[in-house]
Amino acid sequence: MEDIMRIGRVYKRFKNTVWIEVKKAKFEKLLKELKSFDARISSISGYDNGNIIEIIYHFDVNGKLINVKLRVEKDVYVINSITKLFPGAELFERELMEMFGIEIKNHPDPRNLFLDERLSPKNPLRKKIGDNNVR
């Protein structure tokens, strides 16, 4: 378990959760380490933070939550799908693609999950001028 903490940088610990920030180059290595501990993917969340989008992978290792944060530049960087190692992540990645407009390679079924292609707005969870706290 300590090897996982060393690959990324632990920036917060709270009760039963650990929050790790990891660089893109070391992300694959971290995934393989987590798979060797029989981790289960619990959820994948996204957040629009100005020029970058933060993607947080929530893994569950025997009851302890390990949250891995990855920062991705908007419309520049293309990330790999994790469905080869964790097949349960299929629906979460579809939702990320349609809500934030992130491009994910090697996904087995890259169509919209909730939104309609013609009638719904595009990328609704990105921040636009006129939203709550955006000037």
Binding site: N16, S42, L113
Partner: protein, 398 residues
């Protein structure tokens, strides 16, 4: 159309089921490819209840978002509000009083009881056993009476707030809930006998809709669906919250992997819930029921989860120093359990489809869109309401 299945080419017919279908109480769309009466492939389309709740929560302050999270689901609304309140309490880093934890636990277990009873009745209805459906729903009314005594309403409890609960539980309410539970326990033992020994139910549920343990682990399935395939995982035991580390209870698992195993797991879990409520009613002590919390939440990031009647609910949240949340992400249990429909349905009979899909206890909702599949060309077209009316009626003055 012709598709590859196994080693042979099969000539199949594509059958869209839903979103409006008399066999399902809620709306979902399954594109089922059948060869005679055997199902060969299935694709699940969701999105019929997408209301944009996560975006709406960013524009409402924390109390109004609490009321919005209560309306996500009608059957499991208390666990949504409990997880939301735990999330905000983690963002603020405060502890709620012990009496509030016990009252929340009692309401959570009452909700699990009524949800499993609702499911058992609908399972009886899908099997064609209407009498069982009516008997179980009659007895469910007593649990809704108990919930009304505790919270004031039958469906959306309105009991939770950030920092505790809003209504206290008097001695009179405690005694009445105890009497209701005695009657419900007797009835549950009778229903367990019916579901596990009646010959027709056994013929329709044993050996059907199999989800093996390796598939349950591979697709990250949660809840009683996974526990019926031998995966021993329950948030109340592994990551205890509220008063669950102060009571004794068993986690029910079964190695059957079929529909009969899921029936047994849910009904035996309901008996454990009754025992948890009785222990809580005995152990609860006097004290405060809520503490005051500030309106402004400092910048922070947190996560909280609970065990709903259908599985694990996860709320991830972020705050930004104002009185409105910055981002809240909700993951409900049916979201991930959708991946288990395909392994369960392939190579089964078409007539068993309603009971197999209901056995994962799905919790979708509905909108007003229609999918038309042109079988010859395989093209899918989605029409809005106006276009559909134009095609059907030939009028365009709506």
């Amino acid at each position: 159309m012709i598709i590859m299945s196994g080693k042979s080419l099969k000539r199949c017919y594509s059958l869209p089921i839903g979103p409006q279908h008399p066999a399902f109480p809620e709306a979902e769309n399954l594109e089922v490819k059948v060869d005679g009466e055997t199902i060969v492939d299935v694709v699940v389309n969701v999105g019929y209840l997408h209301r944009g709740i996560e975006k709406a929560m960013e524009e409402r302050n924390y109390i109004r978002s609490l009321y919005l999270s209560e309306r996500i689901c009608g059957i499991c609304n208390f666990v949504h509000t409990t997880t939301y309140c735990s999330l905000v309490e983690n963002l603020l880093d405060i502890e709620i009083p012990e009496r509030a934890m016990y009252i929340r636990t009692i309401a959570l277990e009452l909700e699990r009881l009524q949800s499993h009873m609702l499911w058992a009745g609908i399972a009886g209805y899908e099997l064609g056993f209407d009498t069982l459906f009516h008997y179980i729903w009659r007895d469910r009314e007593f649990i809704l009476d108990a919930i009304e005594l505790l919270g004031g309403k039958r469906v959306n409890y309105g009991l939770n707030t950030i920092g505790g609960v809003r209504r206290d539980m008097s001695e009179d309410v405690k005694n009445k809930i105890g009497k209701i539970l005695k009657y419900i326990e007797k009835r549950f033992k009778y229903y367990i006998k019916v579901f596990t020994t009646d010959i027709t139910i056994l013929r329709r549920t044993e050996g059907i809709g199999i989800l093996e343990k390796k598939d349950a682990i591979k697709y990250c399935i949660v809840g009683p669906t996974a526990r019926a395939s031998g995966v021993d995982y329950d948030i109340r035991r592994i990551d205890p919250y509220m008063a669950y580390n102060m009571v004794d209870f068993n986690i029910i698992t079964d190695n059957g992997c079929d529909i009969q195993a899921r029936v047994k797991v849910r009904l035996l879990e309901a008996l454990e819930s009754i025992s948890i409520i009785k222990q809580c009613l005995k152990d609860i002590k006097k004290g405060d029921i809520r503490i005051k919390v500030p309106f402004i939440v400092p910048e922070n990031e947190a996560i909280s989860r609970s065990e709903a009647p259908r599985g694990e609910i996860v709320y991830y949240g972020r705050s930004n120093g104002t009185d409105k949340p910055e981002r809240i992400k909700i993951r409900t249990p049916t979201y991930i359990n959708l991946l288990s429909i395909k392994p369960m349905l392939v190579d089964e009979n078409l007539a068993d489809l309603p009971i197999i899909v209901m056995s994962i206890d799905p919790c979708f909702s509905c909108t007003d869109r229609i999918t038309i599949i042109d079988v010859k060309s395989g093209k899918r077209e989605i029409l809005g309401e106006q276009e559909f009316r134009k095609r059907v009626d030939g009028k365009n003055d709506y």
